[in-house]
């Protein structure tokens, strides 16, 4: 059965040998592939063919992976359901009436349906972890700076990271190992990831591990999700982990801060789509401003326009201090809270999504409701931390994801803890 996981299916061979030889990997369609169109799920780039590979794509090819296509996504990564793609929605392989989550929904669906051994997504506010949770696969959002963003079409560059999705923690960690590490074409990458080894951390050993549970990320979640979450924590305790409650008061403002910052960065990043160097060829008459505005009216979908306009508003004279400056304060506050909580715990655990997968169409007419679903994932991006979503069983037949958050460059710790969740499921 087709889930419309791919926008473009094309086999791109990698090197003959390497750690990923014989493996197939699907790549989100906002990650540049030389000679293969990269649409970002948008009419604006429907025919865009990059003349170069993203660093992560180069690394996958050198590691022997065979790329099998470019996966569907919310337009420019803006969405939580993979329904805002100009190429139509992807459906959830677990339940075809439901969304796969977003914005890397095509990548998660391709893995869940067995159409690829692993996939790359990008995570700006949860876009790898949300679809991993909704489709019952593993997704890793790396520490900011661990993975190069060169060749990733930017949406909100201070927040986003490319991350792997795979059926198991170990397989996701193997892909992370290949793509992680500094890149002189992305000055925000970090030396700390230089000699990363992640796959061997998936040993299931949580003896003595201290797990903090932020109360604010449990409150308000669907009871069925919370029940699965607590049962999984009980399993981890039975394996020798210790849990305690922690409080992160700042996360109550994280969704607002996240959307103000992401929309502001989007309004700036997406200014490049003016129809001159790439973009649809319209018949618009008039001067540069008029023709620019006509191209963008035609090329962008509703959610993208909504975010560009709100971002422009938040940065405009008179509102900058009220929205953007305050959002930056909230971001620093969130970071401080996490530092404190992680000084008393090795990892923090929460449900990845506070809800079960939405039915198709359910959230499209109410953007604010959709934004609220990101409450548990966005604080991690604001604090630049690593997090993993690992399947924690099902409720009413639908996947539930458990999120583990670690300190900066603590990928090995969250991978170890997630592998213990896996062995108890």
């Amino acid at each position: 059965m087709s889930h419309d996981a791919f926008i473009t299916e094309e086999t791109i061979p990698g090197a003959d040998e390497g750690p990923l030889a014989g493996r197939t990997v699907a790549v989100k369609d906002n990650i540049s592939t030389e000679g293969v169109r990269t649409t970002c799920g948008s009419e604006m780039l429907a025919d865009y063919v990059p003349p170069y590979d993203a660093t992560v794509v180069e690394r996958l090819k050198s590691a022997g992976a065979t790329l099998v296509g470019k996966t569907n996504m919310d337009e420019f990564g803006m969405g939580t359901t993979t329904e805002t793609s100009a190429f139509g929605p992807t459906t959830n392989p677990v339940d075809g009436d439901r969304v796969p989550g977003g914005s890397s929904g095509g990548s998660a669906a391709a893995v869940a349906a067995g159409e690829a051994d692993a996939a790359l997504g990008s995570d700006t506010g949860g876009s790898v972890r949300c679809p991993a949770a909704f489709c019952g696969v593993v997704g890793i959002k790396p520490t900011y700076g661990l993975v190069s963003r060169y060749g990733l079409v930017a949406y909100a560059n201070s927040l986003e990271q490319i991350g792997p999705l795979a059926p198991t923690v170990e397989e996701a960690a193997e892909v992370l190992e290949v793509i992680a590490g500094p890149d002189d074409r992305d000055a925000t990458t970090h030396e700390e990831g230089a000699d990363a080894e992640y796959a061997d951390a998936a040993d299931g050993d949580v003896q003595g591990l201290s797990i903090g549970v932020p109360t604010e990320l449990i409150e308000g979640a669907d009871e069925r999700v919370v029940d699965r979450f607590h049962e999984t924590l009980d399993d981890l305790e039975a394996q020798g982990a210790e849990t305690h409650e922690v409080s992160l008061p700042s996360v109550e403002r994280a969704v607002q801060a996240y959307y103000v910052i992401a929309m502001s960065e989007a309004s700036s990043n997406l200014a490049r789509f003016d129809g001159v160097r790439y973009g649809p060829d319209t018949d618009a008459e008039g001067n540069w401003n008029e023709s620019f505005a006509a191209v963008r009216e035609e090329g962008f979908g509703d959610e993208v326009k909504r975010r560009i306009l709100l971002g422009t508003y938040a940065l405009s004279a008179g509102y900058h201090d009220k929205y953007y400056a305050k959002a930056q304060d909230a971001r620093a506050w969130v970071k401080q809270d996490f530092d404190e909580a992680l000084s008393e715990a090795d990892v923090l655990a929460s449900p990845t999504m506070p809800v079960l997968p939405f039915e198709l169409g359910e959230s499209l007419d109410d953007p604010l409701q959709m934004y609220l679903a990101d409450a548990n994932t966005v604080p991690v991006n604001l604090a630049n931390l690593p997090a993993i979503s690992v399947p924690a069983g099902r409720a009413d037949g639908l996947p539930v994801g458990l999120q583990l958050i670690g300190p900066a460059f603590g990928e090995r710790t969250i991978i170890r803890a997630a592998s213990a969740v896996e062995s108890s499921a």
């Binding site: 607002q256 801060a257 103000v260 001067n287 540069w288 401003n289 304060d329 909230a330």
Partner: protein
């Protein structure tokens, strides 16, 4: 309600700044949604001032000539070109 209600004129003004044409239906739809979303953002008013820890460093590299895109590659995706240049609309 937000202290800064958004009416249709304001949506048109912001759309003009952002260089996006909107039709009347979109203007009305966004005006309604923006009121809700901005009033939700008002919760940022009670965020305390926090001194961010400065963990940012400038990253510099040697200013050396490297291979870049060829002219042909750079122009490949343009809807219109002329004599090896991008062709754009008139600026005035």
């Amino acid at each position: 309600m937000s202290e800064t209600p958004v009416d249709a004129d304001e949506v048109r003004h912001v759309a003009d700044l952002a260089r996006i044409d909107l039709d009347d239906e979109e203007v009305d739809q966004f005006a309604g949604q923006f009121a809700d979303i901005l009033s939700y953002f008002d919760a940022l008013d009670d965020v305390p001032e926090v001194d961010p820890e400065a963990d940012l460093v400038n990253v510099m590299r040697a200013d050396e000539v490297r291979d870049g895109l060829t002219q042909e590659e750079a122009l490949k995706n343009a809807p219109a070109t002329e004599d090896g240049y991008f062709e754009g609309p008139s600026v005035s």
